[in-house]
């Protein structure tokens, strides 16, 4: 910790603009979702306006922060604040995923067997013959109500066995995402050694791999909807599958955009020094985080 003064920015318009953008965004999102059946509704334009304002505010806010940084206003102590801030933000993201993984573990190990009449709490359900004929399996293809209120899938996304392993998209997704974590590390090493070419090259490869991942994931969703009949409306398996992989995919896009911006900053503006590149480092931390989440998904959603 340096003894010098800590940079406290002057008044700023960005935060309240951002709060207002978020207001537009959530008002637009709520009205749009509540009026999905009404084709004459214009609510979606509020949503677009919210997104637009949000991106503009973020752009100018980050530009300001980068300017201040390049002007030398950031003491080492301030940089440390960004480091801690990012670390705690990632922890909050971990807890967000924990909620969905918790839901997955709960239905798999407790509530689905109970609904099928197994175990201490299943006895009651069996006694009143609530969900007759429902069998506890995972993935749940046939719902407890036998598809009364749901559109049952024909097939799940689970591990298809070694014979079909090579045609199984999640395996390729895993390979793509794990390699991207390695390439982003190489990029980091290149930057640390002052080798900008290596940095740009490997960061470019990482962003490409991110795009490939998102593409494969889209292909997988298409396959699920078009060929397997597996949708959000297929009962608890579809719910957990799409919510977990969907939020992960969304985070991959966020991380990919962050890395792409870092690449653009390096290529077009020559930003980042071998000893001073926390913007990139934060994005790469985020990238490693989405990678770890994927490994968990691969294990608990696809394989086991």
């Amino acid at each position: 910790m340096s003894g010098g003064s800590y940079y406290v920015p002057d008044q700023s318009r960005f935060p309240i603009f951002m709060a207002f953008s978020l207001f537009l965004l959530v008002m637009g999102a709520s009205s749009t979702i509540n009026n999905l059946d009404d084709p004459s509704s214009n609510a979606v334009y509020i949503l677009y306006a919210g997104f637009g304002c949000l991106f503009l505010t973020l752009f100018f806010w980050f530009r300001q922060v980068i300017k201040e940084h390049l002007a030398g206003l950031d003491s080492n102590q301030l940089k440390q604040s960004y480091v801690y801030g990012m670390a705690w933000f990632i922890f909050s993201e971990v807890m967000f995923f924990a909620a969905f993984f918790g839901a997955l573990f709960y239905v798999r190990t407790l509530s689905v067997p109970w609904l099928a009449g197994e175990g201490e709490k299943g006895i009651g359900i069996a006694a009143i013959e609530l969900w007759q004929g429902f069998e506890s399996t995972w993935p749940v293809i046939v719902t407890p109500d036998q598809g009364d209120g749901y559109v049952l899938a024909e097939k799940s996304m689970a591990w298809p066995g070694w014979d079909h392993a090579l045609k199984w998209l999640p395996l390729w997704n895993t390979i793509v995402l794990l390699s991207s974590s390695v390439t982003v590390h190489f990029a980091h090493l290149g930057l640390k050694n002052g080798d900008r070419k290596k940095f740009n090259r490997f960061l470019g490869i990482t962003v490409t791999l991110a795009l490939i991942f998102v593409g494969l994931q889209a292909a997988e969703y298409y396959e699920a909807y078009a060929h397997y009949g597996l949708t959000l409306n297929s009962g608890i398996y579809g719910s957990t599958f799409f919510m977990l992989t969907g939020f992960h995919g969304f985070h991959v896009m966020m991380g990919g955009i962050m890395l792409a911006i870092m690449l653009a900053r390096s290529v077009f503006a020559g930003h980042f020094e071998d000893h001073d590149h926390f913007g990139f480092e934060a994005a790469s931390w985020y990238w490693h985080f989405v990678d770890v989440v994927w490994v968990m998904l691969f294990l608990f959603v696809y394989i086991l």
Binding site: S5, V8, Q11, A71, S81, M95, A99, L110, L232
Partner: protein
């Protein structure tokens, strides 16, 4: 580039900006603290007005004033507004004002994000309150929004509720990250972890809890949103989900949330009792360890809110014992407060009165909590007015009394003026009487079997309900006196010295009253 640098240097010489932009664009921790505190006060009055509607309806058996549907909206919004709009922002406001001064930092670590986390709140609560005027009315499923009441049977405004919870959560997470980073990174040299004032410690732990559980709440409302609008079946057994899953996720957030609303109070009360006993706090390090233990235990007790929902026996036993374990560190804290006062030269200024009432009444709330922790007993008490009495005892004379104590204790530092001691004491006695008359009888009617969340009740509960309502009106209208006292102090009054209180210790008392706009631009020397 250079313009930026010049601005920066200029910044150290002038005070606050003129006009409304001072508040809209501010990055100053004191301004933002003030915004948070006033916002919380406004929400406290709005949520309080809703409580008045509830108590007016319950004054007599039978339906008198409102429709049952509207009554449900009142109990829901009262809970949500008091928790997310009243208590939490008040503590964040206090953290903003006090943490940088207590650790010798120039400001919060991330000042612009600080402004953002405040300004999200007015928008979020505008959305929540506007749901009152929507088709189908405001959310009516109780502040715990259990599925399927909040999914299958919810009014359309639930979508707006979900998204307003999302941005409230974002605000809390950013506020909490700011506090953690400030405490970890901005302490003046010499302020070691175990030398930090207890309010700072309490907020470090609170912020950790916030960052850990607010995202879980976001996950819960997201699953609701998907179940309502996009056909998933997280909380629907027909599709293989489970409504009880909602309760597990909600209370995994909800129980740490309870401690989020009480840990900062522990910090505040420790400071006040120390000052007005004119002694050193008894057992500083055990206070820290007690708060840490409470925080850790708060993650493994959530199902004690769900004893009657049909949990496996092993779970009921585990959660019962884990819950009772919390009484140990809490007992340590109460013991330490009492031991601090033992043989002290105590004076009873308003902050001390509120702090003393806190220790006694919070302990009563804690003891009724222990009764509720016992599974077979809870089968009897669950969802009765006994529960209402319990959590209002820990939240009103607990959390809210500590906030009022903090306002009286630090307002001379904020405004430079002493509050009117006579009026302060009057406010205390009115509040103290009001709170006990309101909530103590609710123990009786709860044990006699009156269920919570109903607009009507059996005749046998009539007398105590009337007493409770009279107490509530007394407490409610006394808060207008509080508003008057605060405004009077802001306008003027006897000038306060830098130290303000004879026994006050800590860095915030070493700067002038009112505290200058920028304090500790360079770190102070600590012995």
């Amino acid at each position: 580039m250079s313009a930026v640098i010049e601005n920066h240097h200029e910044d150290h010489h002038h005070g606050p900006a003129k006009g409304i932009t001072r508040w809209l664009y501010t990055t100053n921790h004191k301004d933002i603290g003030t915004l948070y505190l006033w916002f919380s006060f406004a929400m406290f009055l709005i949520g309080g007005a809703m409580a008045m509607v509830i108590r007016a309806e319950l004054f007599q058996p039978g339906m008198q004033i409102v429709e049952p549907e509207f009554y449900n909206q009142m109990i829901t919004l009262h809970g949500l507004i008091m928790i997310f709009g009243g208590v939490m922002p008040a503590f964040v406001g206090l953290a903003n004002w006090l943490v940088p001064m207590m650790i010798g930092a120039p400001d919060m670590a991330l000042p612009r994000m600080n402004n953002l986390s405040f300004w999200i709140l007015p928008f979020a609560f505008f959305i929540l309150l506007s749901s009152l005027f929507m088709e189908g009315g405001a959310p009516n499923f109780g502040w715990t929004f259990y599925a399927p009441l909040s999914t299958t049977y919810a009014p359309p405004s639930v979508t707006f509720f979900i998204f307003s919870v999302h941005i409230m959560g974002a605000s809390s997470i950013m506020g909490a990250i700011n506090v953690v980073v400030t405490i970890m990174n901005m302490r003046a040299p010499g302020v070691g972890l175990m030398k930090m004032p207890l309010f700072v410690w309490s907020w470090l732990i609170t912020a950790y809890l916030l960052i850990a559980v607010m995202p879980v709440l976001a996950g819960a409302v997201t699953m609701m949103l998907m179940d309502i609008h996009f056909g998933t079946s997280f909380f629907n057994a027909a599709g293989g989900g489970d409504p009880v899953l909602f309760q597990h996720i909600f209370w995994f957030f909800g129980h740490p949330e309870v401690y989020i609303m009480i840990l900062p109070a522990f910090g505040i009360v420790s400071h006040i009792i120390e000052t007005f006993s004119r002694k050193q706090l008894f057992g500083y390090s055990s206070m820290v360890w007690a708060m840490l233990s409470i925080a850790i235990l708060s993650f493994v007790v959530w199902a004690h809110h769900m004893f009657t929902v049909g949990l496996p026996l092993a779970a009921e036993i585990f959660f019962m014992w884990a819950t009772m374990l919390i009484a140990v560190p809490t007992g340590v804290k109460v013991f330490n407060w009492v031991a601090t006062m033992f043989r002290g030269s105590i004076t009873f200024e308003t902050p001390m009165l509120f702090a003393l009432a806190f220790v006694v009444l919070f302990t009563i709330g804690g003891l009724s909590g222990l009764m509720l922790a016992i599974v077979p007993a809870d089968f009897q008490y669950h969802d009765t007015y006994f529960v209402v009495a319990h959590f209002h005892y820990v939240l009103v004379p607990g959390a809210i009394f500590s906030i009022m104590a903090a306002v009286y204790y630090w307002i001379p530092k904020w405004t430079g003026n002493m509050y009117d001691e006579r009026l302060g004491k009057l406010h205390f006695w009115l509040s103290f009487t009001g709170v006990n008359v309101t909530f103590f009888p609710q123990h009786f009617i709860g044990l006699a079997g009156m269920p919570r969340r109903y607009p009507d009740y059996a005749l046998q509960f009539a007398d105590w309900n009337m007493v409770s309502s009279v107490g509530a009106f007394l407490f409610g209208f006394s808060q207008l006196l509080f508003l008057f006292i605060v405004l009077k102090t802001v306008m003027g009054g006897k000038k306060a010295t830098a130290q303000v209180w004879e026994g006050a210790k800590g860095l915030e008392w070493s700067v002038a009253s009112p505290a200058p706009y920028h304090t500790f631009s360079t770190p102070p020397k600590i012995d």
